[in-house]
């Protein structure tokens, strides 16, 4: 029986019970998750004075106490001042953490470089840049999902997502600076679903979640793992609501989802957990649960309102869990920023991912 994370009638029932109308206050309890900021681990993201912050913050267990971090929009210092107003903005970067406990690990950051300035780790393809998704270690290889993004209109929100893609890393045990990346053969269908939000290996299948639509409905596709490890992602099966079938039969595993999230299996709870930031702006970190990757998924339950969400004009986002990390039952991160124009946060405190420790009760 999967853990129930939410009891939506609780406020009303508790309210009646508090007033002594006890008969209306009865009801079953529900397992609770607790979450607390983990400031001791945050130093991991400020360990490189040239890396001045980035969002996304997906993680992939590479094995052998190595964890790959994938970041989106990143500031790279271009002067000894190490300030964001003297930095170069690249679309993606990566880092490798050595040690599974982020409060005790060390991290090295990687990005590309041209003769003149830093560039994205996965370089742009003309006017299209690559936004990181999740990934997974598959034997001797690693598979990393990226979304193609382009600027459709002016302004910071004028970007638009294109088709998803993925890169097969041939030598993930080496330093990322010498990685050999090969773009996979992706399915030609499914262009409206941005696959790669979360990746799980379940049995002989690679389960990959993706978003579609303005309301971030989440879909689930699966690939044969043996074919995926060879870079063949041309034949996905899509969850239809009753089973897996062709693209035309697809149905969302949940509607009104989130643009970024993680999905992982929590053995102590016997459930899959989806971790996301809930809301837009003064967001909370929230968790859904399900007995199986395809659901049914519960409504999200807030586990933490980050301190930054109490600030002026906050923009807290990119919440997701990192099940390979230790130091808590489940380690998560979110990215705090603000809606102010220009390089985020003149004090340069925001825009570094923040760690959270989630506990199972």
């Amino acid at each position: 029986m999967p853990a129930r994370l939410v009891d939506r009638s609780a406020p009303l029932r508790a309210g009646f019970f508090y007033l002594g109308l006890g008969a209306l206050g009865c009801g079953p309890g529900a397992p609770q998750l607790t979450a607390h900021p983990w400031p001791e681990a945050n130093a991991l993201f400020t360990s490189d004075p040239l890396w001045l912050g980035g969002d996304g913050a997906y993680s992939v267990d590479l094995g052998n106490e190595r964890v790959l971090w994938l970041f989106g929009d990143t500031y790279v210092a271009t002067s000894a001042a190490h300030r964001r107003d003297e930095s170069y903005f690249v679309r993606n970067s990566v880092a490798v953490q050595t040690g599974y406990d982020p409060s005790r690990a060390f991290m090295r950051f990687y990005w590309g470089r041209t003769e003149e300035h830093p560039r994205s780790f996965v370089p742009e393809d003309g006017a299209t840049w690559f936004w990181p998704g999740h990934g997974i270690r598959l034997g001797e290889r690693a598979l990393l999902f990226y979304g193609r993004v382009h600027q459709a209109s002016e302004g910071m929100w004028g970007f638009a997502a294109g088709a998803w893609t993925a890169f097969l890393v041939q030598n993930p045990d080496d330093e990322p600076s010498v990685w050999q990346l090969r773009e996979v053969s992706a399915a030609s269908e499914g262009g409206d679903v941005e696959l790669g939000g979360a990746v799980l290996e379940v049995g002989a299948w690679l389960y990959v979640y993706g978003n579609a639509g303005d309301h971030h409905d989440i879909y689930l596709a699966r690939f044969d793992t043996e074919r995926a490890v060879k870079g063949d992602l041309s034949c996905p099966e899509w969850w239809s609501g009753e089973g897996f079938g062709d693209f035309a039969s697809r149905a969302p595993v949940l509607t009104l989802g989130a643009p970024e999230y993680s999905v992982s299996y929590a053995a102590p709870l016997g459930a899959y957990l989806l971790v996301e930031t809930e809301g837009f702006g003064a967001s909370t970190l929230a968790v859904r649960s399900a007995p199986a990757p395809e659901g049914p998924w519960t409504e999200p339950r807030d586990v933490l309102r980050p301190p930054e969400s109490f600030g002026d004009d906050p923009f807290v986002y990119a919440g997701k869990a990192h099940p390979e990390l230790t130091g808590a039952d489940l380690v998560a991160t979110y990215v705090p920023s603000s809606f102010e124009d220009g390089p985020p946060d003149p004090r340069e405190v925001l825009y570094y991912p923040r760690f959270v420790r989630i506990g199972y009760k």
């Binding site: 939410v6 939506r8 009638s9 609780a10 406020p11 009303l12 508790a14 309210g15 009646f16 508090y18 007033l19 979450a35 607390h36 900021p37 009104l256 809930e278 809301g279 837009f280 702006g281 003064a282 967001s283 909370t284 929230a286 409504e299 999200p300 339950r301 807030d302 586990v303 933490l304 309102r305 980050p306 301190p307 969400s309 109490f310």
Partner: protein
């Protein structure tokens, strides 16, 4: 605001259509069971108090129209309150935080002789309101309180549907009792009740609602033996249930002990009050034990 305007328009139309029932325009207070004895810190009254910091309220309530009947009176009206409070320091002028509460609604009162229940208990009143409470800093004041991730955001404010049941005992003895039970269902609660948590989150974020549900219970007493000097005592308690699952509920208990000096047009009530529990507005996440003294002015 659109909803409030529609409600007011409907009320006006109702009142106009009911002109044959001898409607009274601007008859006075919005409730038959009035607030002058209330220990509710958000009661729409004019007051000043100090302890441990300065606070002042400017509030009032007004009926736009009443439709008196033999068995039931209907009042359409509203109330407003602006409460100033200092979060820090010993200044006697409260100028640091502000909370506003505005409500429009209808109240159905059953006078003492209306029915067997009210003949026993006294005047009964059911009120339904649409209201909004919001909390603000005044000028550039920084609250400075340490933020806890279990805090209730936005001063636990928001837009709500309020339901109140109140009674005022019959004047058979010098002791007049006024119990009041109320609920506030904030906008973000409604999608939550039908399982739409994401929609509830959007509503809470967009409307800056920190609370999902609030209930309160009070019992006020006044000794009216002397028409010019009337001791009063009130007990009030409430509970705030936050929207965030991760935030902690907030509780408050309050007493108010005073002596009312009723005049022809106004009533002056010096009082002492004590509280244990959450603060108001931006101070909702503080848990304090407070003792203070002040004075209240009510229109009669």
């Amino acid at each position: 605001m659109k909803t409030l305007a529609a409600l007011f328009t409907a009320a006006s139309l109702l009142a106009a259509a009911s002109s044959a029932v001898a409607a009274d325009w601007l008859p006075g207070r919005s409730r038959a069971v009035t607030y002058e004895d209330s220990a509710d810190p958000s009661a729409p009254v004019v007051s000043y108090a100090y302890g441990p910091r300065a606070r002042a309220t400017l509030g009032g309530d007004l009926a736009f129209v009443s439709l008196p009947g033999r068995r039931m009176d209907l009042r359409l009206g509203g109330s407003a309150l602006v409460a100033f409070e200092n979060a820090r320091g010993a200044r006697v002028v409260p100028e640091q935080t502000l909370e506003s509460v505005v409500a429009l609604g209808a109240a159905w009162a059953f006078p003492g002789a209306a029915n067997p229940l009210s003949r026993t208990l006294g005047t009964l009143e059911l009120a339904v309101t649409l209201g909004n409470r919001s909390a603000h800093r005044v000028s550039a004041f920084e609250l400075g309180d340490r933020i806890h991730t279990t805090d209730v955001p936005f001063g636990a404010g928001g837009s709500y549907l309020g339901v109140e049941l109140a009674a005022r005992s019959l004047a058979r003895s010098p002791l007049v009792l006024t119990p009041r039970l109320g609920f506030r269902l904030f906008t973000n609660l409604f999608p939550d009740l039908v399982g739409q948590r994401v929609a509830s989150d959007v509503v809470a974020d967009e409307l800056r609602e920190g609370a999902e549900f609030m209930d309160f219970l009070e019992l006020d007493m006044r000794w009216i033996q002397n028409p010019r000097v009337q001791p009063l005592f009130g007990l009030y308690t409430d509970a705030i249930f936050p929207h965030d699952d991760s935030a902690h509920r907030r509780w408050l208990g309050r007493f108010l002990l005073g002596v009312a000096f009723p005049g022809t047009a106004f009533e002056l009530t010096p009082f002492v009050d004590g509280e244990l529990g959450h603060g108001q507005g931006l101070l909702v996440n503080r848990s304090e034990a407070r003792l203070g003294a002040g004075v209240r002015l009510d229109a009669r």
